[in-house]
């Protein structure tokens, strides 16, 4: 019977389980799957209930940003260099992927604070709050892909069969942002500055990452790009789309493993620290 679950709480609760804690964490995640789905649906359905343009708001800002940027490029105020595919398609695809990463980070960071007294009043798998918070970002990403597809057709960009494998490259990206989000959500519960700092870091990150310009080829910038864990995903999604091959495979493997590690560590830290932090938040 499901109801006869026994629970024991002590001070050193995390030490008593040893490695078995991972089994517990995965089983908790599994039982929470329905809750995650319901909360995810709630987040999406609530967001645009009181707006007229509703889902258009997902497309308007990035399109606007890209138009301004390409206008500046045309006027030669900014010189971005040659992009592998026409600029508008290139920038719009990149910005969609970047926004997926950034929005997952932002919404997961906010998730615990947004849940308000739910965190300190009811005991339930709180991972569900963080994981379900990414539903917004995912849906927005899918809708932006439609806009990207339209621009691809207009600019007559051809793409190959590699497109079916692109989700495999998005997955580690999502895991990494979620892993960071786990830690940041706890930090935000303790110190509300976290969200503001994150905003600044993300803005800087977008300019350090080849989102609106092609991957750098000059001396100092190459190294910055090499240590940027996001760029391998961006570059490889492009080459998969256009040529159906991967570039810089070792870097990609390192980035993907790092993503998985960040996710697992973030999740574990989240589980250890939430009960300690929520009593002080």
């Amino acid at each position: 019977m499901k109801n006869s679950e026994e629970k024991t709480y002590t001070n050193n609760i995390n030490k008593t389980h040893g490695f078995g804690i991972w089994v517990l964490m995965f089983s908790e995640l599994y039982t929470a799957k329905e809750l995650i789905l319901i909360l995810a649906k709630r987040n999406v359905s609530v967001k645009y209930r009181q707006s007229i343009l509703s889902y258009l708001w997902i497309i308007i800002p990035p399109v606007f940003a890209v138009i301004v940027f390409s206008y500046l490029t045309n006027l030669r105020i900014i010189n971005v260099g040659d992009t592998p595919i026409p600029y508008l398609s290139y920038a719009l695809l990149n910005i969609s992927i970047w926004l997926l990463f950034a929005n997952i980070l932002i919404s997961s960071t906010k998730s615990l604070v947004d849940a308000g007294n739910l965190v300190t009043r009811v005991n339930f798998p709180k991972v569900a709050l963080v994981i379900s918070s990414i539903s917004d970002a995912l849906l927005e990403f899918l809708i932006r892909l439609i806009a990207v597809a339209i621009v691809f057709v207009i600019e007559k960009v051809s793409f190959g069969w590699g497109i079916i494998f692109t989700p495999l490259l998005l997955m580690p990206l999502v895991l990494m942002s979620l892993g960071l989000g786990f830690i940041l959500s706890i930090m935000n519960l303790l110190i509300r500055d976290t969200l503001n700092i994150l905003g600044i870091v993300l803005t800087m990150g977008m300019f350090l990452t080849p989102v609106l310009y092609p991957p750098p080829t000059m001396e100092p910038f190459i190294y910055i790009n090499m240590i940027n864990p996001i760029s391998p995903f961006l570059e490889n999604i492009h080459s998969l789309l256009i040529t159906g091959t991967l570039v810089n495979t070792p870097l990609l493997v390192v980035s993907a493993s790092l993503s998985l590690l960040v996710f697992l560590v973030g999740w574990r830290i989240f589980n250890i620290s939430l009960p300690r932090i929520s009593e002080r938040a």
């Binding site: 109801n3 709480y9 319901i38 300190t120 009043r121 005991n123």
Partner: protein, 399 residues
């Protein structure tokens, strides 16, 4: 069905008064925990105090434990530790089965969602599957009496409606352990009664921990009582009435006397002639006649007064009243100081602490000249202790 659902052993929990220190300690503790260092040192650090200290509890299905205590005595903290939201600093908490929390029942409602959508979301948070909610949906709506508004966004609900929806969902989530914290105070009289009946139904299949300041409710449903004072357990036993008394004694009722009215009457002294003094508190034996002596002075322009004597309990409720008007007593104001003896007859109040309120009126139940609230406190001593406020001796005869 005599299985133990909660067993708590020497539970301790410390809190920190200062926000900055609290965060610092939190980060320290976390760092230790993440790197797997065992915490042994359980001393209090600067600005810390014990919110709970050495609490042990055993609760079986069918039991109702009442937790009494002043504000800040650790009642809500105890509930949070039982539900596993907070972890103990030392000691263990073991729970068996699903925990239902009737604590701020509206927690988790999204204002933009309709009542119906919120039932599904809250149900999922409480661990119900969609199927289970489907099967209980009609009962929940019927119990909450919100069928007209079930498709209205919750932000348009009144406080009472919020509470009704929240209570209904939790009541139908089949908890093995039910934690109740002062939730029933919001609903109207009808719904309160309905909730109480529902809780009585639930008691049979679950263990209940009941936190309330309403002693009548505690006396009605609890099978045992714990009195907390600043995190320490002062009383823990099956004798609920004794526990309530203990709580009253813990919470010092030194409500200083207050005076209101036009001030045309002056109370010089008041004394209970039928009682005796123990530790500067007048003690009156249960069932003895209560005789009060009052010395007072009324303004000269008033010729006749009426006096009302009221006995109040610790909850400031008026329990017994004697009114000179009803006894057709005429009190002429013809002397400088008037001395009056009032015999209120045999007093069959429950043992405990009570207060006396005196009010002086103009003749014919007129203007209040002066009202001395809680101007004298006394204790009733005796063995007749029961659920009702008055314990009347009766004639019993088998026919």
């Amino acid at each position: 069905m005599n299985e133990t659902v909660i067993s708590i052993d020497k539970l301790c929990k410390k809190y920190c008064r200062d926000l900055k220190h609290s965060m610092l300690y939190g980060i320290q503790d976390l760092a230790l925990e993440i790197f797997g260092v065992e915490k042994k040192n359980q001393k209090l650090r600067n600005d810390e105090f014990w919110a709970l200290n050495g609490i042990s509890i055993e609760l079986k299905k069918g039991d109702v434990l009442g937790i009494l205590g002043a504000n800040g005595s650790g009642k809500s903290t105890l509930l949070k530790l039982i539900s596993g939201i907070f972890y103990p600093d030392s000691g263990t908490v073991k729970t068996q089965g699903k925990v239902g929390e009737l604590i701020e029942v509206g927690a988790g409602f999204h204002p933009m969602l309709t009542g119906k959508e919120n039932i599904y979301v809250k149900g999922a948070i409480l661990g119900l599957t969609k199927k289970e909610i489907d099967s209980k949906f009609d009962e929940i709506v019927e119990f909450s009496e919100l069928d007209e508004f079930i498709n209205t966004p919750v932000k348009y609900y009144s406080t009472g409606m919020h509470m009704r929806l929240g209570f209904s969902i939790i009541a139908y989530s089949n908890p093995d352990i039910l934690l109740i914290d002062e939730v029933l105070s919001v609903g109207d009289v009808n719904f309160r009664a309905k909730c109480f009946n529902k809780i009585t139904d639930l008691i049979a299949s679950s263990g209940v921990v009941f936190v309330s300041h309403n002693m009548a409710d505690v006396a009605r449903i609890c099978t045992s009582v714990m009195v907390l004072n600043r995190g320490e357990c002062k009383y823990y036993d099956q004798n609920v009435l004794q526990g309530i008394n203990c709580y009253y004694e813990e919470s010092c009722f030194d409500e200083s006397p207050s005076v209101s009215g036009s001030g045309k009457a002056e109370l010089k002294s008041i004394d209970i002639r039928s009682g005796y003094n123990i530790n500067s508190m007048t003690v009156q034996n249960q069932l003895d006649d209560l005789i009060i002596e009052i010395l007072f002075n009324i303004d000269n322009d008033i010729s006749r007064v009426e006096i009302v004597v009221t006995i109040i309990n610790l909850e400031q409720q008026n329990i017994i009243q004697s009114n000179s008007h009803f006894d057709d007593i005429i009190l002429d104001n013809d002397l400088e100081d008037l001395r009056l003896m009032v015999n209120m007859g045999s007093i069959c109040l429950n043992p405990g602490v009570y207060g006396i309120t005196l009010s002086f009126h103009r003749e014919g139940r007129g203007e209040i000249l002066a009202k001395f609230s809680n101007c004298l406190q006394f204790r009733i001593k005796g063995d007749r202790l029961g659920h009702a406020q008055l314990q009347t001796p009766a004639q019993w005869k088998l026919n």
